[in-house]
């Protein structure tokens, strides 16, 4: 296997002066693959993504034995260095295009803004415009010329998410972090956006971290899955083997999904075992 793109060893993120541990001894590596991180709200999955992007608020205390993105040490990199990592080399897609797009700017201009920011010497506005149309084409928007002139409120959720993907891909990142990219979308649109993401990741040979609470999505889409509970990794599995998960938490999550095919009178609910949190309050 080639050198990992992202490597984290014993990553810990604390809030409130380190009293609240949102992420506890999390270790994983990301190669050129699709890695899923699943867990419930508050399990720390988004915090991991943000720690990699160094987007946590200054009150967060990030400690790790190692947190690297290729040759860059994300723990010690200066903010100036991070400007070249964020957006340029690691792209981030957030959940709801309604909130992540600037409502008073045409979508084409927003995508161009990313390009001009990261490639200021690449031919200016005309070149940016050509690239924008190319990117909108790549995310399968049928009439890129027209869509580029629209405002975010004039496009649908699925299209908004494509615009977000285009905006991120225009900087040609090596890693994408997608934080709940399809939770705000309908099932049918979800599949389209996912297969688009899949195609782009495969074709451009990117590493992808998909953060989601949705087991079905991750199972269908990713190569490997990390399951987080209370800030800790409880299990790492190949996505195809999620059905054979051993940890009671993972199995409980899977069982609590309602199914279309067979009717149960009561959905099994998760019985949380305090030992899952295990070895937390050692000091602090």
């Amino acid at each position: 296997m080639t050198a990992p793109l992202i490597e984290a060893a014993n990553l810990e993120v604390g809030f409130g002066g380190g009293k609240i541990k949102a992420v506890r001894s999390v270790s994983f590596t990301l190669g050129r693959e699709k890695l899923g991180i699943v867990g419930e709200s508050g399990s720390g999955k988004s915090t991991v993504g943000r720690a990699i992007m160094r987007l946590l608020p200054p009150t967060a205390r990030v400690v790790a034995d190692r947190l690297r993105f290729q040759e860059i040490d994300l723990l010690t990199a200066s903010n100036r260095d991070m400007v070249h990592v964020r957006g340029r080399r690691i792209g981030l897609i957030l959940q709801d295009p309604k909130y992540s797009l600037n409502p008073v700017m045409r979508v084409g201009e927003q995508i161009a803004e990313t390009y001009l920011q990261h490639y200021p010497a690449a031919g200016g506005k005309a070149a940016a415009r050509a690239r924008v149309l190319e990117m909108l084409n790549a995310v399968k928007i049928r009439d890129p010329e027209r869509v580029a002139r629209l405002y975010p409120h004039e496009i649908s959720g699925g299209m908004g998410q494509r615009v977000m993907i285009a905006m991120m891909l225009i900087a040609e990142p090596e890693v994408m972090i997608a934080d709940e990219p399809t939770s705000a979308l309908d099932v049918t649109v979800r599949l389209e956006v996912l297969s688009l993401l899949d195609e782009l990741v495969t074709r451009r040979n990117l590493g992808l971290i998909l953060i989601s609470h949705d087991l079905n999505l991750v199972r269908r889409f990713c190569d490997r899955v990390i399951i987080m509970y209370a800030g800790r990794i409880v299990e790492t599995l190949a996505a195809s083997q999620l059905g054979e998960a051993r940890h009671p938490y993972t199995r409980g999550l899977l069982a609590s999904l309602p199914s279309i095919d067979h009717k149960v009178s009561r959905l099994p609910t998760l019985k949380r075992d305090p030992s899952w949190i295990d070895a937390v309050e050692t000091n602090s």
């Binding site: 419930e40 709200s41 079905n216 409980g252 609590s256 999904l257 309602p258 279309i260 009561r266 959905l267």
Partner: protein, 258 residues
Amino acid sequence: MIDVRNLVVRLGSPPQAVVKRVSFSVETGGSYGLVGESGCGKSTVLRAISGLNPDYRGEIEIGGKVLSPVRPKEFYRSVQMVFQDPYGSLHPRKTIGAQLLEPLRNQRLPRSREAVFEALTSVGLNPELRYRFPHQLSGGQRQRVAIARALILEPQVLLLDEPTSALDVSVQAEILNLLNELREKRGLTYLLVSHDLAVIAHMCDRVGVMQAGQIVEEVEADRLRAGTLEHPYSRLLLEASQQYGGSTEEPLTMNGAA
């Protein structure tokens, strides 16, 4: 219990029909699901029934009486609604206890501590929580409070607009179980709107598939489970949900399991 006939709702300017001649009925104690994608008009139907949108045409009948578009206060004793997002539907600066008493105050009913106690216990919450504010509760607890508030007037009909879409799957299971128990115990009639076919299949006896403001197909939930749908759109929706759902263990292809 609920009878909707030729419901038409026009919104926007110039007005466009977003709900086009929708008719369906739900028997007493039944549970009916409306499913469809964003913008298909399913929530608009619910808003018309709940009285939040008095500007509709057609007839809505509940408990044998045709309703006037502007609802009298007593209407809300028999029909209550639970919304998608408990963050948005609870008052951020009122305690849970105070919010639970509001429906009683609106109806000029006696307000008692016991009513709050009972409302909270009936949804599986500790009565101690009545002193808390919504931000001090988890998402699941908040949705339980919203359900308790809807039930405090002892309505016969509960309108549920995506009641679990904002929740984690583990919490969703708890809320869905709670809703099923309450329906059984109190003989409630449910009208549930969701974009999630799996939730609808789990909760409802009958399902109406909506597309572009119309119910394109109405089926028993058994047929949904068996996968024997007729309309091309409902088949598409089911196929997408099954593929996405991956409830079967075999690898999923574009042809789907159906």
